[in-house]
Symmetry: C2
Subunit: 471 residues, 2 copies
């Protein structure tokens, strides 16, 4: 079934169904994605204000066979929000559905519309004395509906889980325009298939999320934060196990940093303060959320001593103030900026079983070396097994000359990840960028089931066509 | 498409495909369910030893259009494991697939076959110095595949989540005999739809779980356990919020107990030790898993004082030894036994938004009173919003005379639950017992999506036919 373009006739049809100002041409910012890798040549834009308006739009699109791209903050990194070819789609932005629907502090829950910016969700939780733990670099722009549609990860997954784990229920418009009223405030509900978790992470291809009920958590009484040099990834993982045992599972962040990232900072962002005069080959940023009565310095000190006894750590900086803590986080958060300034040939959002990482890292290094004397920045959310494994040109050289090798390098790295039981998309999703990777590495029975589910729930293929599964 | 009986010809076909002793008639224990409410009149039994054998059985059943009932420990309470009418099914027991597949203590993961008894899974985790937190009354008989197929709950959901939250991936045989190899050791993996969470909780109607990767947790350094009298459910929930804040979210158990349960113990189990001479109308059993260095008595004492200041507690017993802790747990765990001795007219596994419970309880009491002077035992996992709301005859009378009223009472209670945004199956599932409830109270868009998914993944309807959705 071929889709039709969202042409002028369709625009008039939609405009006739909806309040003035809901339908119009999409400005350029709706047509681009953050890394400039692809654009939607042109599109119609809908900015509905209610779930009923979303349903009306979907019904009209289904009748006209027009593809719909659900649009959050536009921060996705795998081209889930752009349609480079095919009939012009309708971009359906949730930006005008950005209000909280309710907050229940004693239930530690809030319900929000899908267009609420993640940072605003965090702030609303904080206003009630609670924590919404989802945290990622684009939180000032990304919207919660997009975070859920892509099952976003970030820096607190280790303790609190991915976006899916933070959501108790959703409201969504399905491909026929029906509304799934699943905005429940229930922690136990075994009445049928888990449609909520199916919609979460489906990247807008099975339904359009319009609202969600989110779990909130007690704010830690104090944060204990440290940066520790470690002999390597294996020692880092032993340190993590030790810290988890010592704190009863309260480690919220455990980020791996390779020397290459520190040297990139030296090279292009020398103003970033670094704790270690000699840049260690491997280090970790650890943060632990403490219960009332626990002393951050005492907890970190005890972990350090136990780790030191086992030879798991070298130099260490334990943040003694909020300012020192911010410095350590700043170091971690500027590494991606430094990467961008250096210019990667290719980058990889991979995950591995924790026990495979120590073996994977040197093998991947060898695989990359076979292509040339590239610089590798391997960093990321080690506690989740999620590494960002990015390849850069030799020092002093530009990436452009090496771009033809990118595909081969990526294939070699992804093959190795697959051999180690890992994933070629840990937290960014499939979008349109990794459809081929999913076909190559995905479990065949799972792929067949996915295609059957897509055909069953969206038989005309109007929801985010070409994302996740080939149209 | 009508199903066929698992007749002698089919038995011979299967026997020809599989090692001797795999196929035979089902003994009575495979045909009954624990409350004696229904039986399967007769069935063929398959006891495969490997996923390949399961796949061969499913392929043969699909070809012959014979219904398959996946069978774990047989402890389900909603008739998911019995087929009272229709063509005789094949019962596929996973009991011979009961081995661990691997344990990775530093990853805090283990992989197990679906037929492993829950208590054995717990013991294997403990052997590695870790905790598998799923815990429920039937853990000595129930098998992990059944726990996952029904998304089991239990007494530690508050901190650790339902069975679904404890599983990172599954291996499963789908309705066409293909094998979904999803036994991953990854905490982040965004490669396509969440087939794992869809299979979990689908009660064997979308696939047969053959193995699972399970999350393990650090064992708490100490347990702080107390029983506290409270003015009512609303105060209990404020006490829970206070305890969560004071411990950084470390409350694992928060069970509500009504005086009726204590009086039932007095009536039929006077040997059970009770902490309060005067039976309080409402009380709670609280357990908190502490991190190393935290003192149970100090933590409980601080919570008690803060709660006392706000008028949230009355009498209290803080367990000062493991023996005292066991006494408190014994009290809670014998209440269902006492219920059985008294004999319920009807019972309800319901959940409610926490903030609705204080309003629901008196309204439900009034609704029941309209039917007669019944005794109500309302108890359960208050921290999860999950109440077991059971109705008993007046003292000295037998249930039998009142059974004709059961349907009306259940309808009244379920209607009220639904009005309060609750669920009519919190942790037991739908099985065949609550198919009508799901049709009555389920979201229509969700039901339509469920039917479409079932038809897409099991077009011949061979997997647990008649469970969850009408065949």
């Amino acid at each position: 079934m071929t889709l039709q373009s969202a042409d002028e006739g369709f625009a008039r049809t939609l405009a006739g169904l909806l309040p003035e100002g809901t339908i119009g041409p999409a400005e350029p910012r709706y047509l681009e994605e953050p890394r400039g890798r692809a654009v939607t040549p042109g599109a119609l834009l809908a900015r509905p204000r209610s779930v009923d308006e979303v349903a009306a739009i979907v019904r009209a699109s289904a009748a006209a066979r027009v593809g719909i791209v659900p649009w959050g903050g536009g921060t996705g990194l795998v081209l889930g929000q752009v349609v480079p070819d095919g009939p012009a789609p309708l971009i359906l932005s949730l930006e005008r559905m950005a209000a909280p629907r309710g907050i229940w502090p004693e239930e530690r829950l809030m319900a929000v519309e899908a267009g609420m910016v993640l940072a605003d969700v965090q702030a609303a939780a904080e206003g009630a004395g609670l924590l919404f733990p989802l945290s990622l670099a684009s939180e000032g722009t990304a919207r919660i509906g997009g975070n859920l549609a892509t099952n976003a990860g970030g820096t607190a997954v280790l303790r609190y889980g991915n976006a899916r784990a933070l959501c108790l229920g959703v409201e969504a418009v399905l491909a026929d325009g029906s509304v799934f009223h699943g905005l429940k405030r229930l922690r136990k509900d075994n009445t049928g298939y888990d449609l909520t978790d199916l919609l979460i992470g489906s990247e807008g291809t099975l339904g359009i999320l319009t609202a969600a009920t989110l779990r909130l958590y007690p704010r830690p009484a104090a944060l204990a934060t440290a940066m520790l040099a470690v002999p390597g990834p294996e020692a880092a993982l032993s340190l993590l196990a030790l810290a988890e045992a010592a704190t009863g599972g309260a480690v919220s962040t455990f980020e791996l940093i390779h020397r290459q990232g520190l040297l990139f900072l030296d090279e292009v962002m020398p103003e970033v303060r670094q704790p270690f005069a000699e840049r260690p080959e491997w280090s970790v940023l650890v943060e632990i959320g403490l219960a009332p009565g626990q002393d951050p310095q005492a907890v970190l000190g005890a972990i350090y001593e136990a780790a030191d006894d086992r030879g798991l750590v070298g130099d260490a900086v334990l943040a003694a103030s909020e300012g020192q803590r911010q410095d350590l986080w700043n170091l971690r958060e500027r590494i991606p900026d430094a990467n961008r300034k250096i210019g990667a040939i290719c980058s990889h959002d991979i995950s591995l079983p924790l026990g495979e990482i120590a073996d994977f890292v040197p093998r991947a290094g060898e695989a990359v070396a076979a292509f040339g004397p590239f610089r590798i920045n391997c960093f990321g959310h080690l506690g989740d097994g999620n590494l960002h494994y990015n390849i850069f040109p030799p020092k002093g050289e530009k990436r452009d000359a090496y771009l033809p090798q990118a595909e081969g390098i990526t294939r070699a790295i992804h093959d190795l990840v697959h051999d180690h039981g890992g994933s070629v998309s840990a937290e960014h999703g499939i979008g349109r960028l990794k459809v081929g990777d999913l076909e190559r590495y995905g479990d065949p029975a799972k792929l067949a089931a996915m295609r059957a589910i897509k055909a069953a729930l969206d038989p005309a293929g109007i929801l985010n066509p070409g994302a996740v599964l080939r149209a």
